[in-house]
């Protein structure tokens, strides 16, 4: 794998982690948060600060990042989770803007606009992950971990509570669901998972600054979730891969570098509109439908290929399935 491809793969995994964590809010709970980049930043800055001021221990850095994201996510949840829909979006947007301002202004801790540099690669069980291939492993493990956690949550009672709120919060609360608590828990878990993306990012890039975590990053993450497919385990991963790889292909076009940023934004917007028009369920939904069509087509072909057998002469000697009309007469 070329270094360029490896770089893309690592960023696909980082954005995959972030998109899956955001889908827990948007896709599962029906909460549109525009603050996910905050928890991306919390993960990255936690790693940097732990390493620069405390210890090189990987596990300590990861735990600090996850706990810090949980605490900040909890504070965010308490202040914003009682609001509904548009007020939550505005609150989360404001939270993201304020957080970046704090990163910019709190120079002694965050380094301000200049950021923090000199982050060393992690060392796990004495093995330093200082090669690109080892960073790929770290990024893939983080993505797999987050996808598995997301899948387990989706199958759990907590997941069912989140989906009930997504479908109809008034009905859910009237049937005994403490929706504010469930939403707060969803925000906290989502924040903790997002911080893992920040951990991998900080270790890989070795330099972090507020510019990497502004509100456009949150909008990009939301676009990944919507394009990939809301509420599907692998949808956000697909969306993340697509919106990471496609813009990078622009580098091969004869476009002045100064125009690349605006062009990327236009591509994100156009992609969201195109997917919403073609399939509101996102790319994952297209895939699911194609799969079901394929299964039906395969069954149809097999049934045509099966030689005709006289009634009562099943290959295993069992009674053959009744035809629909026969089944109807039995009932």
């Amino acid at each position: 794998m070329t270094p360029y491809a490896a770089n893309l793969l690592i960023f696909c995994c980082i954005y995959g982690v972030l998109a899956v964590s955001l889908d827990l809010l948007i896709g599962e709970t029906g909460i549109f948060s525009a603050a996910q980049a905050v928890f991306f930043a919390v993960g990255a800055y936690s790693v940097a600060l732990v390493q620069l001021h405390w210890t090189q221990n990987f596990l300590v850095a990861v735990l600090t990042a996850v706990i810090a994201a949980g605490v900040i996510g909890g504070a965010f949840a308490l202040s914003a989770v009682r609001s509904r829909e548009i007020t939550f979006i505005v609150a989360s947007l404001a939270f993201g803007v304020v957080f970046v301002q704090i990163l910019n202004a709190w120079i002694p801790v965050t380094g301000g606009e200049g950021g923090l540099s000199g982050i060393m690669p992690p060392s796990i069980f004495g093995h330093p992950l200082n090669s690109q291939s080892s960073m790929i492993t770290l990024a893939v493990v983080a993505l797999v971990l987050v996808v598995v956690i997301r899948w387990l949550i989706g199958r759990s009672r907590f997941g069912l509570r989140m989906r009930a709120i997504r479908e109809d919060e008034t009905a859910a609360i009237s049937l005994g669901s403490r929706t504010a608590v469930v939403k707060a828990a969803a925000v906290i878990v989502s924040s903790m998972l997002a911080s893992l993306g920040g951990v991998v990012y900080a270790y890989y890039v070795a330099f972090i600054s507020p510019a990497s975590f502004d509100s456009t990053e949150s909008v990009l993450l939301a676009a990944m979730v919507v394009i990939g497919g809301l509420g599907r385990v692998f949808g956000p991963v697909v969306g993340a891969a697509l919106l990471t790889v496609l813009p990078s292909l622009l580098a091969f076009l004869p476009i002045p570098p100064v125009d690349l940023g605006p062009l990327e934004q236009m591509i994100y917007g156009a992609a969201v509109v195109a997917v919403m028009m073609a399939e509101p369920g996102g790319i994952a939904e297209i895939g699911v439908k194609a799969y079901h069509q394929g299964v039906r087509a395969t069954r149809a072909i097999r049934s045509r290929q099966t030689p005709h057998q006289p009634a009562g002469a099943g290959s295993d000697g069992a009674e053959p399935d009744p035809t629909p009309s026969e089944a109807g007469t039995r009932n």
Binding site: R166, T170, A171
Partner: protein, 241 residues
């Protein structure tokens, strides 16, 4: 307060802007009865359900449940105490399956997967929804959706069940089944309150009818007595010339 009173409204006001949806409401709902709430549009029938189930707390006055004051408590707390409702517009979880609609409520009562499955299966069988258990609730017929709405409410194991227009859109067979179910619930000592425009359903199901107008209780009594009073009929249908 008499022993068999489960829910009591004491001078309850609910005001929307300048309009009093409930005006000094004084009313008792008794246990083990099916109570029909009737009245013209705007009488405050659905507002009563919203107030007692916590979706629209009263602006003044008190609500008691089993002699405990409960007004002002959040809707989830009311439901967990046993004050459970259905909605006129059903409000099902459309992108969840029929089974998940029931399970999303049942899971609070049954933490263990096995007992939860049994409880959900029992309700699906009882409401003839087993055959559509794995379909999304947006894909089932209106009559099935109505039954699911009831099954979901019963999954919360209510002590007092408020049904908002349960009979609307049901054919005669479904109506007969609904009436049978209401009688069964009453026999199990569940207090049932029905808001219904179909007065024939109220007549066939209710032990007592409460007639509301302009946010207040105007009359109460057995269905035949209430429906035979001309002045109430005038209030309901408008004065005949």
């Amino acid at each position: 307060m008499p022993d068999n009173v489960r829910v009591s409204f004491d001078k309850v006001d609910v005001v929307f802007g300048g309009f009093k949806a409930l005006d000094n409401l004084q009313m008792d709902l008794r246990s083990g009865q099916v109570t029909g709430l009737v009245g013209p549009n705007g009488a405050g029938k659905t507002t009563i359900i919203n107030a007692v189930c916590g979706l629209r707390p009263p602006d003044s006055g008190r609500i008691y449940f089993d002699n405990r004051r409960v007004d002002g408590r959040p809707a989830w707390a009311m439901a967990r105490m046993g004050l459970v409702r259905t909605f006129q517009e059903l409000r099902l979880y459309d992108r969840l399956t029929v089974r998940q609609n029931v399970e999303a409520v049942s899971e609070r009562k049954h933490a263990r997967r096995k007992t939860r499955k049994q409880a959900v299966d029992t309700l699906l069988e009882k409401f003839q929804l087993a055959d559509v258990a794995d379909r999304h609730s947006a894909e089932i017929s209106y009559a099935e959706a109505k039954r699911l709405s009831l099954a979901r409410a019963l999954a919360a194991e209510p002590q007092v069940l408020f049904l908002d227009e349960p009979a609307s859109g049901l054919d005669e067979d479904a109506l007969t089944a609904l009436i049978g179910l209401l009688r069964e619930l009453r026999d199990q000592d569940t207090t049932v309150i029905i808001v219904e425009h179909n007065l024939e359903v109220i007549r066939r199901t209710s032990d007592i009818v409460m007639f509301l107008a302009n946010g207040s209780l105007v009359a109460e009594g057995p269905p035949d007595e209430i429906f035979s009073r001309e002045e109430l009929s005038d209030l309901y249908f408008g004065k005949r010339r």
